[in-house]
Amino acid sequence: MDLHLEPRHLAFRDEARAWLKANLSRPWRESLRDPAATEDGLMALRRRFQNTLHAAGYLGMDWPTAWGGRGATEVEKAILEAELAAADAPPILNSLGISLLGPALIHHASEAQRRRFLPPMLAAEEIWCQGFSEPGAGSDLAALKTSAVLDGDHFVVNGQKVWTTFGPWADWIFTLVRTDPKDRYGGISFLLIKLDTPGVTVRPLRQITGENEFGEVFFEDARVPKENLVGQVGEGWRIAMTVLMYERGAASLGHAERFGRDVLRLAAALQGNGRLTGAAREKVARALVENEVMRANGIRTLANFASGKVPGAESSIEKIFWSEFDRRFRETALDLLGPGGQLLRTSPGAASDVDWAREFLWARAGTIYAGSSEVQRNIVSKRVLGLPQA
């Protein structure tokens, strides 16, 4: 066992840390708190930051250099994510495209499709959203019904996608569509659809936080060129599984930076009011301990990556841990802060360091997206424990 970063990884971490120090003008939470901030303005800021990252070679970490990526490994990718979290950098605008669609295209798309789609994705010239979930297909993704019927050189698409993160700001959507209603898995295909195609309507959906980060997308006889099909007809499910594999990674490290910083801020706030005593003290200490255990999970995954091991279904355990800890911690924070913890960030008197109210609400998302806690437990019981599924 050796949990020291290797010299080249240490050098990369130091280089990334120094770069962030020099190039990140202010922490994301301060941009969010700016009274002049608008949703469009924040999107523009994220677009600029993505371009800055791209120019410096910190985007598409695991993409081959031939496609504008860094050609690095999961180790550098996880290190960078932890450094971005520690520096409180703005979230990467095109993150769904870069982290999910990019690898799928690199592995499954034609040369022409890669040339067409990858460069503008990295440059934030085309923003992507993910069209997997439907009103009737969430955890049971293969129940999706949005249909694509070949008609000459086009697929005619009908149906609806929902919970489409970045939908309102996106230019393109990568979708799973049904090309054969009789074949549950083999009847699914992977199709790229431009959102200004006639017959496509994007409606923003207001989230629990009040923001419109996600939306719903309707397709009514939308004609999509058949060259936008990735892989062959019927390969969609297999490609989607590759995509979802890239949602894994040593995410716990970045979360440990982000949540850990907030645990210390909670401790400082309570200490300032003479309240870091008794039950409050124990709750903060438990959050600190859980955060450290989450960090240990992340270090273990990182070390496994570094020694050439690919994480399997055990990454589900990490996902359950961090998302459920996030929820517990944010609830604890609001309990301990009192009514002031519920103040909106724009409200007089709101805490200047953490947007506790938004974090409390936002924590409800983590146990639902990217495979709900229930789905993750099913994955653990099936693939790790080998228990028969009903």
Binding site: M1, L3, V293, R300, V384
Partner: protein, 350 residues
């Protein structure tokens, strides 16, 4: 960078597992846990010493193996898997204090050989919030009362904590057994008024405190791993409503929650052990977190194991109760959860 154990450490794990499976399965140790006043058969203790486990951390000069916290974690995890009775961790910790202090080579040689036992007496109160007793060292004598001294009746010497630092006390000393819910334990209250040798200042106990976090954390890991494995096997054979109960999602999700805690404990304990050996700056927080988390996780996992076993899980006959009870002992000793939570806060400046 790698999380896997080295080849030597994996060999140690395998040889320890083989040895304990042959010599110390619960069906063989059960009688000693129930009746033997020493808590473990003398012959087994000698074998444990011969295998090098008692002297694991001690220098070769006194018959030890000169190994580190990672190896301690490996051995204690395996000890946890069989719910090994007796004072292995207690003696390892006390010996580490003596080795740190220096000048105790003769005693340490006997300890490593399994012919003498020394344990730490540290508890100044039996109940939370009770006014602590004051064990004082003055004029070469130690006076006071220590609670929950592990396996005190069979100890040849004690490392007794005092405000001025730990001191060494040779037996005999008056011992009042205080049985607890964990029938395998042999706790006692020790009343002291006798000659003692000061070993050093309070800081002398700090390395042992870190090793206690790793050792107890690892033993908890072994206990909960075994309880989890028993449950995993049981739910696939036990039938209800004409099917194995492991086919029910409500049972599957319980097992998933157990596994999450087992594996998270593994990450935390081995990281803490590595930090101790590497002298990493995160050592204090990593040790405090690993022990605090392992205590909660152990109670949860062993408790859930009882639940999925149903009525049989509540019997004396099934081995599970030994595991459930030992996790409770480990949770409240070797730096209780409360103490470890405070240590975690202290490590980040609160």
């Amino acid at each position: 960078m790698q999380f896997d154990l080295s080849d030597d450490q994996q060999l140690l794990r395998q040889s320890t597992r083989d040895f304990l499976a042959a010599e110390a399965p619960v069906e063989k140790t059960r009688r000693a846990m129930e009746d033997d006043p020493r808590g473990i058969e003398e012959s087994l203790w000698r074998q444990v010493a011969e295998m090098g486990y008692v002297g694991l951390l001690l220098p070769a000069g006194v018959g030890g193996q000169g190994l580190g916290a990672l190896e301690l974690a490996v051995v204690l995890e395996e000890a946890g898997r069989v719910c090994l009775p007796g004072p292995l961790l207690d003696v390892v910790l006390a010996a580490s204090v003596l080795a740190e202090a220096g000048g105790q080579e003769a005693l340490l040689r006997e300890v490593a050989a399994g012919t003498a036992r020394v344990v730490i007496a540290r508890e100044d109160a039996a109940f939370a919030g009770e006014a602590p007793t004051r064990t004082m060292l003055a004029g070469g004598r130690v006076k006071g009362t220590k609670h929950f001294v592990p396996f005190a009746a069979s100890a040849d010497a004690l490392v007794v904590t005092t405000p001025d630092g730990p001191c060494l006390v040779r037996g005999p000393f008056p011992v009042t057994p205080t049985p607890t819910l964990d029938h395998a334990q042999r706790f006692a209250t020790v009343t002291l008024d006798q000659p003692a040798t000061r070993l050093g200042g309070p800081a002398l106990l700090e390395p042992a405190d870190r090793l206690a976090a790793v050792g107890a954390g690892a033993m908890l890991l072994g206990l909960m791993t075994k309880a989890f494995e028993m449950s995993h096997a049981y739910v696939q054979t036990r039938e209800a409503f004409k099917r194995p109960i492991g086919t029910f999602q409500v049972i599957q999700h319980r097992l998933a929650d157990m596994l999450m805690r087992v594996e998270s404990t593994r990450s935390a304990v081995y990281r803490a052990a590595w930090c101790v050996d590497a002298g990493d700056e995160a050592t204090a927080l990593a040790c405090a977190s690993a022990k605090a988390y392992a205590g909660d996780a152990g109670r949860f996992v062993c408790g859930e194991a009882i639940q999925v076993h149903g009525g049989i899980g509540f019997t004396w006959e099934l081995d599970l109760h030994w595991y459930f009870k030992r996790t409770k002992t480990l949770e409240q000793h070797y730096g209780s959860t409360e103490e470890r939570l405070e240590a975690a806060l202290a490590a980040v400046g609160y």
